[in-house]
Amino acid sequence: MLKFLGTTVAGATLALMAGRALANPYAEYEGTTLIVNFPAHPHYNAVMKILPEFTKETGIEVEVDQLPYLKMRERQTLELAQEEGEYDLIAYVVFSKADYVYADQLENLAKYVMNPKLSDPNYDADDLIDGYVYNIGFAGGTKGYLEGKTGSLFGIPYGSETSILGYRKDIFEKHGLEVPETYDEMLELACKIPELEPGMGGVASRAASGHHASHAYLLHLAPLGGRIFDDSWNPTMNSAEGVAAAEALKKIVDCGPEGAKNFGFGEALGAFLNGDTAMFLDTTVVAGQIDDPSRSQVVGKVGWALHPMGARRGSQTGGFGIGIPANALNKDAAFLLMQWLTSKRGDKLVALAGGNPSRFSTHADPDVNAKFPHMATFGEALKHADPDWRPIIPVWGKINADLGTTLSKVLTEDLDIQEALDGVAERTKAVMTEAGYYTWQ
């Protein structure tokens, strides 16, 4: 009898445990330590603040290896090529997507989403911002990097950015200026401001040789109606729209603060924070710094508006995504972390900690908006985020560098714009031929 009782109690306990296990999808992974690789970046600094919450809820420990983002890419390149990797989850820059997916180094997420034990039915993937999902997470669709029927998901956007126009409310009010809505208005204002406020530049922009100049040019190319390639991969940066974008960049730099020709991102932001320019057209990630009195002299003086419109609206899509390396050791637990971070709750937590949310609902959330009033405008800007504002193909690094150094020559040595871009187009054509993009033509 005693034996029977014992068995019953044991059976009941087991059943109870099994029931608990069903109620807690994390139980199986309790005590697991995940090693993740994140960049040193304002968004991921905010992520660090919410990770303890994840551990408390799930019992899964997370160890973070945080590196400057270019260093991070180098490290990942080496790590992902190993048979057994050190990282369970990585954050990657948009342009790494092509390299990693092409080398078969990122897990296709389908099998995790299909797994009922792992996939949270309340995740609401439709709430994730479309442009970013396709830009950062999707591969294999149209052109290989865009949305399309042949594509699938390899990562989820996390720490995504778009471009936005910051302007000095006080200066605009003082001179009765209207916030520019179109490119023509912005360019006119860019050169008018140095006349109205001697010593102040119009727009702070990156311009230094290499990826800085190229980034600044691409910011204008999409809204002005241009593209780097047409649908058959023919370079089109030397089209009329491409030339207009370079002219816009040159005008902005010429009417910018002193030394603007050599500004990297840090200097351009620094100029705006110091009050040396009346406008700033670049990524949304700067919002936190602009309101930080220890770094900024323009706290409370900055208003935000959409990236001005040219032939169309087209703000940039950039930032980071998170994915599971193919050589990770704890893939299931890594997926759980990924899902938790990008869930509605995780996204709101990170937004409140100062990060960049990736969901529409977070941008519209009253708590988030009460703490960060700019969030509503940023959410609006995201609707116009253009996933094709630059190509994400393996040879882009080389083309980008050529474009950036050539544009730097345009800005500093007064090279003829059409001639310079014709040169880039010709060299790009050679790079693309070599990489096999015209095999089927």
């Binding site: 270019l70 890419r73 180098e74 390149t77 080496l78 992902l80 090529a81 390299d99 990693y100 092409y102 080398a103 180094q105 230094a208 040789s209 290499g210 990826h211 800085h212 603060p257 002193e258 030394g259 020709k261 050599n262 990297g264 040396d276 393996p394 690094g397 080389k398 980008n400 560098a401 050529d402 150094t405 050539t406 730097s408 020559k409 800005l411 500093t412 040595e413």
Partner: protein, 301 residues
């Protein structure tokens, strides 16, 4: 037994030779092997496709590589020339017993001890167009501002390098000066040689072997400088300060073409090897000439 005896010295040398081979030749061989492949960092070297001399040929036709090579040659020529002249000049001036000399010497070699990244940052801020020391001083004196890192980027980078590395030449030149045979100088003084004559005809010729090696070391270093320029200009504007070391680093990380980067490194290696050999040949020739002169002088006696 005899064979064993003959082999003994080689046996003693074997461990050292083995370590040399592994530590020196293996990485070098790896680089040479890699330069014949179309190799991106996501692949292991074995997976990369063998393309023969293609990387070398492509580079030769690449205007950016040629421009970068030109920048490197100009940079190396100017920095080494100026550093040699200033360094040796300073050594000649300071080769005397002045009070506080050792403090002065320590001060002189300070720049060399600063980490290159710090040097780059320091100069970058001194060259800053509005808040930099130089432009503020020029502005204060009523002179126009100079676009240091824009229009005069290469010159600005050269000035920073001269500031950092002249002490290296100075310290070696001073050591050479102080080890010169005093008898020759005394004899010259007794014969009534002026200070200039002593410098031209005695000090400099006697220092020459040291100066050649010093110059060569600086030249090799100047071809490989990276951090200071990376921090100051990132190679810009355009490609005006993109020296080869920087281009190699960008090719490997930004363009992800390890094979091309390896080929570029090999070109640099061949160039430096050529310079080193030329320098050695020159020293040999000079020594041989000195020997001939001495022999002729002895015959005359």
């Amino acid at each position: 037994m005899k064979t064993a005896n003959r082999l003994t010295p080689y046996m003693f040398m074997a461990p050292a030779a083995l370590i040399m081979a592994i530590a020196l030749l293996y990485p070098l061989g790896y680089m040479v092997w890699g330069s014949f492949r179309d190799w991106n960092p996501s692949q292991t070297i074995g997976e990369a496709e063998f393309v023969g001399l293609k990387n070398y040929i492509t580079l030769w036709g690449d205007p950016n590589f040629r421009e970068s090579l030109g920048v490197t040659l100009r940079f190396a020529f100017f920095v080494v020339t100026f550093e040699m002249v200033i360094g040796v000049g300073l050594a000649l001036l300071l080769d005397r017993n002045i009070r506080g000399m050792s403090v002065l010497r320590t001060l002189f070699i300070l720049p060399m001890m600063i980490a290159p990244v710090v040097v780059g940052l320091m100069w970058r801020y001194m060259y800053h167009p509005t808040v930099g020391t130089f432009n503020r001083t020029l502005d204060g004196l009523g002179l126009g501002k100079i676009d240091w890192l824009g229009q005069h980027a290469l010159t600005s980078v050269i000035i920073a390098d001269i500031w950092q590395w002249t002490p290296f030449i100075f310290i070696l030149a001073l050591a050479a000066l102080q080890s010169l045979p005093r008898s020759a100088l005394e004899a010259a003084r007794i014969d009534g040689a002026t200070a200039w004559q002593q410098v031209w005809h005695i000090k400099l010729p006697l220092m020459m072997p040291v100066l050649i090696v010093t110059g060569l070391l600086r030249l090799i270093d100047a071809f490989k400088v990276l951090e200071v320029i990376l921090v100051m200009t990132e190679g810009g504007p355009g490609l005006s300060t993109e020296i080869l070391a920087l281009r190699i680093s960008r090719t490997a990380t930004e363009f992800r073409e390890l094979g091309v980067a390896a080929a570029m490194s090999n070109y640099l290696l061949i160039l430096l090897l050529g310079l080193t050999l030329a320098m050695f040949a020159f020293t040999r020739w000079q020594e041989a000439r000195a020997r001939r002169v001495r022999a002729a002088a002895e015959e005359d006696l």
